[in-house]
């Protein structure tokens, strides 16, 4: 059952609310999502990408440890796409600060868009994002040898000097929407629109869908007692949920004062 389309605070029609649930117990930290994203979205690579502070990965897998010593140490990976924060009625940390409306909150899908041709590279959004989900194009995108042949026409390569980030593979949404319209449907089916990382994940750790749709897997998963979101306490209201049965992992998802109880 689909909930009635809600009128948002600003009178926008909220048709879908796309989001993700990532099962951290299943995530193996293999990195396939990162590369699936790069190849899907024409993210370039350079000869030396070892400086992670200038290396673009819309989906980045962070490594967390429980801080204990051998042999009690434990490790968990946090795949971090853009959280597509809803904030308070679309007031996400980045959208509210972008001076040129180069990033915007789409109430139809809940996706935080990025318009690279409008961005002029002030990087205020990067300062605003606590997840480091935003990346600046420090260099001209250059593909060696015949690698330009592998570029997808669905996503424009970005020029130097602008900010880019995960779009939840918005072009895939457009593709699915067009297909549905051609077939005379108003709704997009769950399996018709999946992000590249979700599709690639060899461990099936990522689930993607409409968080408002009772029939979608994400709707059920986000209600799990093990589900949590990153830095929820800041009020970013992210649309990416994580799941872990390990309590230390859930505690790593947010900041807590000493002695404070975590989720």
């Amino acid at each position: 059952m689909k909930e009635e389309h809600k009128e948002g605070a600003h009178g926008h029609v909220e048709k879908y609310k796309y989001g993700m649930v990532i099962d951290l117990d299943k995530c193996t930290g293999c990195g396939a999502c990162m590369v699936a994203c790069m190849t899907e979205n024409n993210v370039p690579f350079r000869k030396d990408e070892s400086d992670k502070l200038v290396s673009t990965a819309w989906m980045r897998v962070f490594k967390a440890t429980n801080g204990k010593s051998y042999p009690d140490i434990d490790v968990c990976y946090f795949p971090r796409p853009c959280m597509h924060c809803e904030g308070d009625h679309g007031h996400s940390p980045c959208v509210s600060v972008c001076p040129a409306v180069a990033t915007d909150y789409d109430f139809e899908t809940g996706i935080v868009s990025q318009i690279p041709t409008r961005c002029f590279g002030c990087r205020y959004c990067m300062a605003a994002c606590p997840y480091h989900a935003r990346y600046f194009n420090w260099w001209d995108p250059v593909w060696p040898d015949k690698m330009e042949k592998a570029l997808s026409p669905d996503v424009s390569p970005r020029m130097r000097g602008v900010v880019e980030k995960c779009t939840f593979c918005f072009h895939r949404f457009q593709r699915a929407r067009d297909k549905a319209y051609v077939e005379g449907r108003r709704e997009i089916r769950e399996d018709e629109y999946q992000t590249a990382c979700t599709q690639a994940c060899p461990a099936d750790a990522i689930t993607f869908g409409d968080l408002n749709n009772h029939e979608h897997e994400v709707y059920k998963l986000k209600k799990s007692p093990y589900a949590f979101r990153l830095l929820e306490r800041l009020g970013t209201n992210p649309k990416v949920y994580y799941m872990s049965t390990r309590s230390w992992v859930r505690r790593e998802g947010d900041n807590y004062l000493k002695g404070e109880k975590s989720k």
């Binding site: 502070l53 940390p93 040129a100 260099w139 000097g161």
Partner: protein, 409 residues
Amino acid sequence: MDSALIPEGVKRCSFGKFALWIGFWSLLMLWALAGAGVCWLKGLNQTNLNDYFGFGAWITADLAIIALGAGAFFTGFMRYILGIEDFKPIINFVVIIGFICYSSALAILALDIGQPLRGWHIFWHANVHSMLTEVAFCISAYFMVLTIEYIPLVLENRQLDKIPLVHHFSHNLHHIMAVFAATGAFLSFFHQGSLGGVAGVLFGRPFAFRQHFAIWPTTFFLFIFSAIACGPCFTILVTRITELITRKKLVKQNVIVKLAKVSGWLLVGYLLVKTLDTVYWAMVTLPNMGVSFMDMYPESPFTIWILIAELGFCGVIPAIILITEKGRNNNLLLIPAAILTCIGICLNRYVMTVQALALPVMPFDNFVNYIPNWAEWVTSLAPFAYGAILISLSYRYLPVFPQEKELNP
């Protein structure tokens, strides 16, 4: 050689000496332009900025020089709106300082963006909810005001003033200067504030985020307050430096002392409010986000000492000197106090941008530090060279200091 251009009744050094002086600063400017050039041509990969430090030396320099340049609007405000005539002898000079600060800030902003050719998008596609949009509009508009205020002074050059139309124009502008000053004050209040807002609205960054009043975070008001408190100090400092270099008394002591007094009391007020704000932030804002006050000062260089330096050494100490009669009348105390105040505000602007970004927010994220590279340093420090050149030219060819003749008969 250029004596025809020099205002009547004042003495200036020889042209050769002057050329040498200007030449020295021009070399520094060239160096800075080289730094700017590589950044514009090759892109921001020529800097040490990165995805964690999208903001660095430039934004700090920007915020700092705009705060230091606040003397311009605030002195104008006191002179034209509040009608405090005491500041008349220094108003020309503060306009020049302001003009230098704001034009440098705009130039640095143009450097700081990844696609300078698209800088106009900030106006064309403006997002009115963004503090940066407000900053851009207000700075640009206020820069227009400063230009309008600077023009009559330029037109008062001995040779230009001989042209009737020019003479009338500068006279008429002078005549309605209060209107411009008022507009400038309005714009300035807003952009000083919105610069504060830039940091304060970042609710993803516990270090920067502050409680909101109406639509503005407290930093909005704190930045205005700190800027007007420190602006006069910077004016004093630059005046004293100019006097030192020209080896002349240019402004009467009463003007300077009055500025110092205003600055001192504003500083006291600012420190009180800032302390309240910090306490509220530490006791309420941060715990709600799950972080403690000391989490915000984890490691070098961002230890608690940076806060003590900002508010103590560079806040309380100069404030005490400036509000005491003896302190502000004693040059040996006044100048260090002015310097400390200026350092304090630079430090404040630095922590609100760079420290805010340096502290990891995700618990599993790493602390990283950032040190600007040469291109950032030279361009950030270029306003000194640029300022020296513009002040020297203005001083030599324009009647900047009305009291000069009287003080140097």
